[in-house]
Symmetry: C2
Subunit: 484 residues, 2 copies
């Protein structure tokens, strides 16, 4: 069987690849970045044909993809990410001696990564999940997204070229084409040790159920839906109703609303300036050109979700353009806070250029909304100094509901850096203890192992007393980059 | 309903307790330790009556329990455990500015802890799971183990006293009595956000299934079974057959074999000294006094598992004492490596004073055994310098199968320190990325949250530019304890 052969290659590759020096893996990641860049315009052209995403955006996404690969290479070169911890022996301790204990993070096996439709480069074949898994020392089986097979194949070929040049076993990275069945078959295989996925709630939960029903359950890192609520506070709307409305509208419309962090829910106070705010939003929506969405399935999914939301009692539609089978019509719904609280289905994600404006009366309303919110990738607070001063409790509640809490900014635009969290409480993800963007994404694919009283020759470099890698370690409870 | 009221109190307590300064939580943990010590001899007497564990061992376990609480208090005082990471703003970056991003670990909600029967103090009511959860800022609902209800109640009362003295909400810690049904009801409640458990594979998997079937799945930290294989290498057995046999036998027999890390599997080379080794083991087993086990259920479980193992074809019994309905008869089984490889049921844990000796021929046999092994809490290598020099591949394979790899030592005796890993690949646990013993156990109950462009006044202390806590942070990718 095909899956059997794929997994056999992956397991074989794990033994060799995971034990390579960090510098070799770093070169591998940098060479992949260079190989992707070398694909040049033909890559951009192919992605554009397959996804309808504009070339400018795709050039930016390619840069982000390559930057990500190079960031993980830098992390490997620096080396402290393995969290080396050493407790030295206390042979004279009473009542019993303490042995020498040394702990670090190590990869635990082959990872299945699902390519995402909405980021054909940065969250697909050589995207953040692949880059962080390869950086951790784990081989990757990439299930390409069926909406961009040629793109996925081109990037996979670029990676294969680097694998060949470096003399790595071919199982370090394997590209598999197919639909949901193929994915299910892969993650059911006993040799798979982790899964990374970015996509819909339904798709994610199908993967979750399969992974948890395996004889050996495995960690799955599923980034699913989020409506990324924005809370516009009274002082700010008084000062900048129009400006904020345009900023938020543009964030909703960006890339036809096909970002994980697109703001699909905006809380706006009932005030003198509310009409100005809504008019400015509506104007921006009406002026927006109609953008083609990724593929027909996404468009029909958008209209289905949109209809479900708009037919909910108490929801008024203040803007809707025409749309077609290729384009999603930018749409705004409006409802009251009471209605939103009464109807939990209004929290469902409408993936596309839609947002629901919820009108609230006072701070107390916002606290109720924050408490009722499901888990989110992001929450945003838009307020002036005096608004924010009075929003301590609200900010705390929102930080409990999200992976990232933004002040006076829109959620779209996810920085790839050390301090990023792209994750959050369920249903944004199935496990809020992780991020799928940024440096810490690598930690998903590693586990701790402790060596007790190990002879120096059998210790990994990161744990040797002389600290040959010069990394930051915790020795007897204190951070130090010195030798012991 | 009772569970409803318990969970309501827990959720209310979370808001207040999680936001307390670290120093207040540290005092709480230290006061609990002092309150447990103040229970004095009457606690030890009660535990002894309920568990049959000898008073000397219980005094040691109490010390360990209190040390654990104080270790987490120290970790809170030091403060770096929150993994603060800061990326400062780059307003002039092209093509777009980078916002200020600050990330740290925060608790995510109420934790249900299951008391364990085999550590009535250190893994029960105020044990490592409770201590690490409370340290993280999470309220605890403790499901007491029905085998030691009075012990559990006494410790719970001690904690209640401290909660009252400190003026905390009562939901910070709640003690619940009951059996498996009570546990299932608790973990099914939507307000529970995590579960910690130490116990059998069957008990653990029942919890796992319930937790994963919830509308909102939650992380569960289940430490289940492990046979903790020891690999005795040829050079060492030539030099110290008798000494090593006695050391290993004593580790098996310790506490009537009722430790998670009891070595239930010993690989011994076929050599001139094998009979000497087996005789010395048998002698130690025969001379061992018969110890009462924890309770009748454990005894009958021991004999059931023992019979299942001894009736497997090719397993010889070389020692078995009488036993009773209160005591587990110390028993040794012996088989060949071929037979062990052919019969995976020989990897099942026999919880009690039993070990299976597996005779192997050469290094190649050991590699086969290591590859066939299921996930373990520990693996041990017993060898002289030249044995270990030739065991690099074996050591790597065993590190992939276990949470802790021990050189020339027995697995019993789990140090509570920074570098400990008490965890391991399935079925030792359901998720190898955690430890349930040592400093890092606190990380199970926290998740990252990122603050983007937050006003200084709304930032947690750990993330303020001036670094008022003086903790180690990662700023723009580099470790530093300086202000920004």
């Amino acid at each position: 069987m095909k899956t059997e052969a794929i997994m056999k290659r992956s397991v074989q590759a794990f033994e060799e690849y995971s034990s390579l020096p960090a510098g070799v893996k770093a070169k591998f990641l940098r060479d992949i970045a260079a190989a992707i860049e070398k694909l040049g315009d033909s890559l951009i052209k192919t992605v554009n044909e397959e996804t309808n995403l504009p070339e400018g955006r795709l050039a930016g996404e390619r840069a982000r993809t390559c930057n990500q690969l190079r960031m993980f290479a830098d992390i490997l070169d620096e080396g402290s990410w393995v969290e080396a911890v050493i407790d030295t022996a206390l042979p004279d301790r009473e009542p019993i001696p303490r042995p020498d204990l040394r702990r670090m993070l190590v990869p635990y096996g082959p990872v299945v990564v699902f390519g995402a439709s909405n980021f054909p480069l940065a969250f697909s074949t050589a995207g953040g999940d692949t880059a962080s898994a390869l950086a951790s020392g784990s081989p990757v089986i990439l299930k390409g997204h069926p909406a961009h097979p040629r793109t996925s194949g081109m990037v996979a070929e670029a990676i294969y070229g680097v694998i060949k040049d470096m003399g790595f076993p071919e199982g370090v990275f394997q590209h598999v084409e197919g639909g949901a069945d193929t994915g299910q078959e892969l993650i059911s295989h006993p040799s798979v040790k982790a899964v990374a996925f970015t996509g819909s709630f339904q798709g994610g939960m199908a993967i979750f159920k399969t992974a948890m029903a395996r004889p050996e359950p495995i960690p799955v890192f599923l980034e699913m839906g989020s409506v990324n609520p924005m809370f516009v506070l009274p002082g700010k709307i008084k000062e900048e109703a129009r400006e904020q409305a345009v900023l938020i509208a543009k964030s909703v419309l960006l890339g036809a609303g096909q970002f994980c962090t697109s703001p699909g829910l905006v809380f706006v106070p009932d005030s003198d300036n509310t009409e100005t705010f809504l008019e400015a939003m509506a104007k921006t929506f009406n002026e927006a050109g109609e953008e083609k969405m990724l593929h027909k399935g996404i468009v029909s999914g958008y209209y289905d979700a949109l209809e479900s939301t708009l037919k909910v009692k108490g929801v008024d539609q203040i803007v809707r353009k025409t749309g077609s089978e290729y384009t999603g019509a930018p749409t705004i719904g409006v409802t009251s806070l009471e209605n939103w609280l009464d109807r939990p289905e209004l929290q469902n994600e409408v993936f596309g250029p839609f947002t629901l404006v919820v009108r609230y009366k006072d701070q107390n309303d916002l606290l109720k909304a924050a408490k009722a919110l499901r888990g989110q990738l992001t929450c945003s607070l838009i307020g002036n100094d005096s608004d924010l001063k009075e929003s301590r409790e609200l900010a705390t509640l929102l930080s409990e509901k999200s992976g990232r809490l933004i002040f006076n900014g829109v959620p779209t635009g996810v920085e790839v850096s050390y301090a990023m969290t792209h994750g959050g409480p369920f249903p944004a993800t199935t496990d809020s203890r992780n991020t799928s963007v940024g440096a810490w994404a690598i930690k998903r694919f590693v586990r701790p192992v402790t060596f007790q009283s190990a002879p120096a020759a059998l210790l990994p470099e990161a744990l040797k007393s002389s600290n040959p890698l010069g990394i930051m370690r915790v020795v007897n409870g204190k951070h130090t980059d010195k030798e012991i």
